[in-house]
């Protein structure tokens, strides 16, 4: 069981929660479990071919999974998965 931190833009897709829990031994399985629980997140996380959208960064604890094993990165009990799309708000 890992904790997934949900970014502001995805919170409406998970019932307003900032954190949700999902089962799985690797990052891909956990994100799929999230998409099963909250189907509205699927199109935002994954492309038509099932790969993670390029504009979504995923971190295991504080490390980008792109420099680990991507969606195959092993997740252990107590780990945190952070989903992070870019934000541009600021000036106006």
């Amino acid at each position: 069981m890992a904790l997934i931190k949900i970014p502001p833009v995805l919170r409406s897709s998970v019932g307003g929660e900032k954190e949700v829990r999902a089962d799985g031994g690797d990052v891909g399985t956990i994100l799929c479990a999230l998409a099963e629980q909250h189907p509205d997140t699927r199109a935002q996380l994954f492309g038509a071919d099932g790969s993670l959208n390029r504009y979504v960064n995923v971190y295991l604890n504080d490390e980008d999974v792109r420099v680990l094993d991507g969606l195959d990165t092993t997740v252990r009990e107590g780990d945190t998965v952070v989903i992070l799309p870019a934000m541009a708000g600021g000036s106006r």
Binding site: K5, P7, P8, V9, K18, Q44, N53, R54, Y55, V56, N57, Y59, D62, E63, D64, R66, V67, V82, L84, P85, A86, M87, A88, G89, G90, S91, R92
Partner: protein
């Protein structure tokens, strides 16, 4: 009969090693510590670059803090070579330094020979009072304050993030603040854009910000750019700035800014906000990743809402803007650990900070290349750029 003072100095000068300015100039920074033993007002009028100031009156109490290795080569100088000879005599005779010399003719001969002299920025009496709390910090001090007064910082936007950043950088004495903003002050801005006032509603934000900065600190020169930053004007606007503060509200400008600053090597302190969430990072060309390493492509427009459409807690841009201002001061003064290669997330409702690592992408389309090769037409462009901009309106 006791010898005269002049006789004592003559005798001591015979006992100490003396070196010519030519030799000092040749070995400057070459494993030699150069010490200026004159008084503070003499130091302030100009000193040899790279020298350390230890007035002769504090020599015994301060020298170990400057040079702990007693076998290190030390060259002392003063105005004409007398005080430095006496100081050299003290260092070798009483304090056990083994390789000490006094520079012949002092800084007077050094200048006559045409060698370079650094004239530090001298703070006025009013500035010493205004920046007194900075001067008390050893990490800032007069030299750090002088760096702030010489610094040129460009703020992209005098809005939610830019307002607090501009006020605190002005208060800190950043000498030149450039502000890029083509907008006018609206009543709905005042919930968070604290540099503007009810009286300045309807006036250009650059004018409103200039007035507030001028009232706070007349040391600061404000350079106004009442335009929207785009590919046609960015290179001219950012030219000559030391640090850029990015608080812009759209992705195309963020990518454009990234590419232009990587090209010319200017660090960017970047923040963004939405609702109760903020993000902060410093992108320093060569020293760490760039914005494209973190976000190779922007999200589609429906996943990139603006604050205008979605709301933002008014205090939040204050929090994030002041974290930006803090990073700017650190970069300018050269202290601490800047937020390079790290992304800081702040969530206001739970009052939590999360720090993530940002790695440099060896395949980054911009920062992995020779900066000189980044062409005008590719700056700010990303895959599906046209579709993004159409969708974003």
């Amino acid at each position: 009969m006791s010898p005269s003072g002049a006789e004592v100095i003559r005798q001591i000068k015979q006992q100490v090693q003396e070196v010519d300015p030519a030799e000092v100039s040749e070995h400057l920074g070459d494993g030699v510590t150069l010490i200026d033993v004159r008084e503070s007002d003499e130091w302030d009028r100009g000193h040899i670059p790279g020298a350390v100031h230890v007035p002769r009156s504090y020599l015994e109490s301060r020298i170990e803090g400057v040079i702990s290795d007693r076998d290190r080569r030390v060259v002392l100088y003063c105005a004409s070579g007398q005080r430095s000879a006496l100081a050299a005599h003290t260092l070798s005779g009483l304090l056990g330094y083994t390789d000490v010399a006094s520079m012949t003719g002092g800084i007077t001969l050094w200048k006559d020979r045409g060698y370079k002299v650094d004239v530090p920025k001298v703070l006025s009496r009013e500035q010493k009072e205004r920046y007194g709390r900075h001067l008390l910090l050893p990490e800032v001090g007069p030299e750090g304050q002088a760096k702030l007064l010489d610094a040129k910082v460009l703020l992209l936007g005098a809005g939610g993030l830019g307002s607090p950043t501009a006020l605190y950088l002005a208060a800190a004495g950043v000498g030149t603040l450039g502000i890029v903003d083509d907008d006018e002050v609206d009543l709905s801005n005042l919930q968070r854009q604290v540099i503007h006032t009810t009286k300045t509603v309807g006036t250009p934000k650059v004018d409103s910000a200039e007035a507030a900065i001028g009232a706070l600190n007349p040391d600061v020169e404000v350079v106004k750019y009442p335009v929207r930053l785009d590919a046609s004007n960015i290179m001219g606007i950012i030219d000559g700035y030391d640090v850029i503060v990015d608080g812009v509200d759209n992705f195309p400008t963020r990518y454009l800014l990234n590419d232009a600053t990587v090209r010319v090597g200017i660090p960017v302190v970047s923040a963004s906000i939405l609702g109760f969430d903020g993000q902060l990072a410093v992108f320093a060309p060569d020293d760490g990743p760039c914005y494209r390493c973190l976000y190779p492509v922007p999200p589609p427009a429906e996943l990139a809402p603006s604050c205008g459409a979605n709301g933002v807690l008014g205090v939040l841009p204050g929090t994030m803007g002041l974290l930006q201002a803090t990073e700017v001061v650190k970069l300018v003064v050269g202290i601490g650990e800047p937020l390079i290669g790290r992304l800081l997330l702040y969530e206001a409702l739970s009052a939590t900070f999360t720090e993530l690592k940002v790695r440099r992408d060896p395949h980054c389309p911009i920062c992995s290349r020779d900066p000189a090769e980044i062409a005008d037409e590719e700056m700010g462009v990303f895959p599906d750029y046209e579709a993004f901009c159409v969708a974003a309106g």
